[in-house]
Point group: C2
Chain length 68, copies 2
C-alpha cells in the first residue's frame, strides 16, 4: 500500500471534495481518498501493484480539476 498526496486546483466547496473523493475512491486498488479543501490536497492510499499514479490523475482531471 502506497500513500501519495496530490495538489489539486479548482476544488472550491464540499461538492468538489465529494466529487474528487468519490471518483478516486471508486478506482480499483484505492483504500482511502481524502481531500483537504483548504490545503488543495488529495491524499490517496492505494495498491501500486494494480493502480498507477497516472490513472489517479486522470480520474481527478475527469472531474474537471487540474493536478499540479
Amino acid at each position: 500500500m502506497e500513500k501519495q498526496t496530490f495538489i489539486v486546483e479548482g476544488m472550491s466547496c464540499n461538492h468538489c471534495k465529494n466529487a474528487v473523493e468519490t471518483a478516486v475512491g471508486a478506482l480499483p486498488g484505492v483504500k482511502t481518498a481524502e481531500v483537504d479543501l483548504a490545503a488543495k490536497q488529495l491524499t490517496v492510499e492505494f495498491d501500486a501493484s494494480i493502480l498507477s499514479i497516472a490513472r489517479i490523475k486522470s480520474a481527478i482531471e475527469e472531474q474537471g480539476y487540474d493536478v499540479a
Copy 2:
C-alpha cells in the same frame, strides 16, 4: 407566473449551481430556476398562487447557502 431574483451567497462552482437549481426546480409551482454564478443570483419563475417566496428561500438554505 411570477419572476423573482434572489442573491445567494456561497455558490462557488457548477456543483453549487446544480444543487440550487435542482432543489428549487423540484418545488411545486416552479417553472424555471436558473443560477448565474458570477452574479451570485438565482432567478425563479413560479406560480405564486401555490408557492411562497419563503419556501423558495428555505429550499436554498437547505442546500447550505445564504439568501440575502
